[in-house]
């Protein structure tokens, strides 16, 4: 059976002071408190600005070795790709990851591609080159465009031992289908909430404003159990971060899976 780790997408939200962190908590204490709840986190700041080795070494130190970090690739590798510059950006990104790699605290690198990243020859060539370039890293790919969800993509990821992210999204036409297919020893699950009304045309805060019901999480227990027979590690991240709902759901899922909240272990 796989090692199942559950956490949230990001931990540093000021609006979590109150619902998650005690009133008066300052930013420097967020990670310490988070470490008491979960054993993994997905870092998202790295998407907006290129991380540095110092930053990640500091986070690893703050977490006292209790947290496995997954990290979202910088936008220059997934959304704003410069054909002549991406390798340099990739080098910079990889260099930043070294402290996590050296301490064995790198869970996965998340490559999240936007809806505009179509299943076209030039995009496929780029993806192939990127995966080769980052090959030693534990990689997970998330596609927002449904065209990528075909058997050739799955086979290609399997050959390269790259995980295909399983998604939970609103049931809206145009979004990717529900697909759980194991393509590496690592499974990676992201739950974005099911807020149909605010998914399109609103800001990220509104888009991810959703609290999963117990029934919805129970369904995920079944999906996770199906995956767990096939992989070594499952990383699960809740991205419905508005008002700390991700934390509440992550704790509930831990309970439903019969796992104690990590701080009680």
């Amino acid at each position: 059976m796989a090692n199942i780790l559950i956490g949230t997408s990001g931990y540093s939200y000021t609006e979590w002071v109150g619902p998650v962190y005690p009133q008066g908590t300052t930013q420097k204490d967020y990670l310490g408190l988070y470490t008491g709840m979960f054993s993994t986190v997905e870092l998202n700041f790295s998407y907006y600005r290129m991380p540095t080795a110092e930053q990640l070494a500091h986070l690893a130190e703050q977490s006292q070795g209790k947290i496995l970090f997954s990290i979202k690739a910088n936008e220059t590798l997934t959304h704003k790709i410069e054909p002549t510059a991406w390798k340099q950006q990739a080098d910079e990104f990889c260099k930043a990851l070294q402290p996590l790699q050296q301490t064995g605290k790198l869970g996965a690198v998340l490559l999240q591609f936007p809806y505009s990243f179509h299943y076209e020859p030039d995009r496929r060539r780029y993806l192939d080159a990127l995966l080769r370039y980052l090959a030693p890293l534990p990689l997970a790919t998330e596609f927002r465009n449904g065209q990528w969800y075909n058997n050739r993509t799955f086979d290609a990821l399997r050959e390269r031992k790259v995980a295909l992210v399983s998604l939970d999204l609103p049931e809206l036409n145009g979004l990717p289908p529900i697909i759980d297919t194991v393509t590496s020893e690592l499974a990676y699950i992201r739950l974005h909430g099911r807020n149909k009304e605010t998914w399109w045309g609103s800001d990220a805060a509104a888009r991810y404003d959703y609290l999963y019901s117990k029934q919805e999480l129970t369904s995920w227990v079944q999906r996770i159990q199906a995956i767990a027979r096939q992989v070594a590690t499952i990383l699960v991240y809740f991205n419905n971060h508005r008002r700390g709902q991700a934390v509440a759901n992550a704790k509930s899922l831990l309970e439903l899976l019969g796992k104690k909240p990590d701080h009680e272990r």
Partner: protein, 390 residues
């Protein structure tokens, strides 16, 4: 996830090999095949994943497979275990819906319509069924939910060997469009060759063919292939075990007869018609029955059970006549005959629904005959004896 799509396809990849591994887990990482090793020209029925990685495939001569892997483990077919596995799978599924179509080879179709109130969203229910099958039998199917059987089967193939897929209603065509054309059910060797030569790779490319293009490439069945590529499928989930289903033809003579050659002509004609239906469904039969209805009201019946699947007219007619001989033990005029094909199964090789051809000469002849019959009617091409005594 409360969409209407409620047709489920559960698909166990390499069923015979999977059953062998479920019985003996030490085989899970070993190259092995399932074959009748004592047959004169034995062919491989099923391969394990490791054997497949070594280049062995189903249908390959066993001697060739043994040359590829020295000391290749060869297991005999184990029909009892296959039946038991099917029954166990069906038993789990039947607890959730009465509409379960149990096809052979590790395929189960379910219709979950009307079950949401009891068991929740269809995709959740399908995954629960999948997991229960896995824990009870050790067999882990891929599972897909869609609005029809065709799309559900394509999706379950896309996520083989053990994945999960849910295709929302209204997104069938967009989901199957980027899938490999060879995932379309019914693509056999011949159609696959045409698709390859035409440079078509994805189902979506087939879906875009104009009527004349589809017919030019694939002949009379081109439009059916093109429509399938668009995700169109109106067939229903037929409750029951494929092995329990029967295809039937009834012969009523205008007046009771004792003329053997007229009986033979009628049986031939009826079996030609039955055979066409059988091949269109992509099936073969392992049991042909004949019930003789005598003029005095007595009925006598018997079966010809074959050790192999019959699909070609000449074999079907031969089996039907043997069954008739066993059943017709009285010298009394006959007023009718009921012919049946039962113990149905899909042949080992993917039946080519879109071009009824096969690699052997008899299959090619049958293919040409079927093409003519589909175009001009079953009576268009028939054995001369049926015309002479008709």
């Amino acid at each position: 996830m409360n969409g209407k799509a409620g047709i489920v396809h559960l698909n166990i990849t390499n069923f015979a090999a999977a059953v062998a591994i479920a019985k003996d887990t030490s085989l899970s990482n070993v190259p092995f095949v399932v074959a009748k090793a004592d047959a004169a020209r034995a062919t491989v029925h099923a391969v394990s994943m490791r054997a497949w990685e070594e280049g062995i495939s189903a249908g390959m001569p066993l001697a060739t497979a043994r040359r590829l892997v020295r000391g290749l483990i060869t297991l005999p077919p184990d029909p009892r275990s296959y039946d038991a596995a099917h029954k166990a799978m069906e038993g789990v599924a039947s607890r959730y819906t009465p509409v379960v179509q149990n096809d052979t080879g590790g395929h189960l179709y379910l219709d979950l319509a009307g079950t949401t109130a009891l068991f929740g969203p269809h995709i959740d229910c399908a995954i629960r069924i999948r997991n229960e099958i896995a824990s009870q039998t050790g067999l882990e199917p891929s599972v897909a939910v869609a609005s029809n059987k065709l799309v559900a089967k394509i999706a379950s193939r896309a996520v083989r060997p053990r994945g999960i897929a849910y295709v929302r209603e209204g997104e069938e065509a967009s989901f199957i469009a980027p899938q490999d054309a060879l995932l379309l059910p019914g693509i056999g060797n011949v159609t696959a060759r045409i698709i390859s030569v035409a440079g078509l790779r994805e189902i979506g490319e087939l879906a875009q063919l104009e009527d004349n293009e589809a017919i030019a490439l694939f002949g009379h069945r081109g439009l059916a292939l093109r429509d399938a590529a668009r995700g169109i499928d109106k067939s229903k989930v037929s409750a029951g075990n494929l092995a329990d289903r029967t295809i039937r033809r009834t012969i009523d003579f205008a007046e009771p007869i004792l003329d053997y050659r007229a009986v033979q002509a009628a049986v031939t004609s009826a079996m030609e018609d039955l055979g066409l239906e059988l091949r269109q469904a992509g099936l073969g039969t392992a049991s042909v029955g004949a019930a003789v209805l005598y003029a005095d009201g007595v009925r006598s019946e018997n079966h010809e059970r074959t050790g192999r699947l019959l699909t070609l007219d000449k074999d079907l007619i031969g089996a039907a006549m043997r069954a008739f001989h066993k059943a017709a033990v009285r010298r009394v005029r006959i007023r009718g005959i009921i012919l049946t094909a039962s113990r149905l199964e899909a042949p080992l090789r993917e039946p080519d629904l879109f071009a009824f051809e096969g690699p052997t000469r008899p299959e090619r002849v049958q293919s040409a005959v079927d093409t003519a019959r589909l175009r001009f009617g079953v009576q268009a091409v028939t054995l001369a004896s049926t015309l002479f005594y008709a």
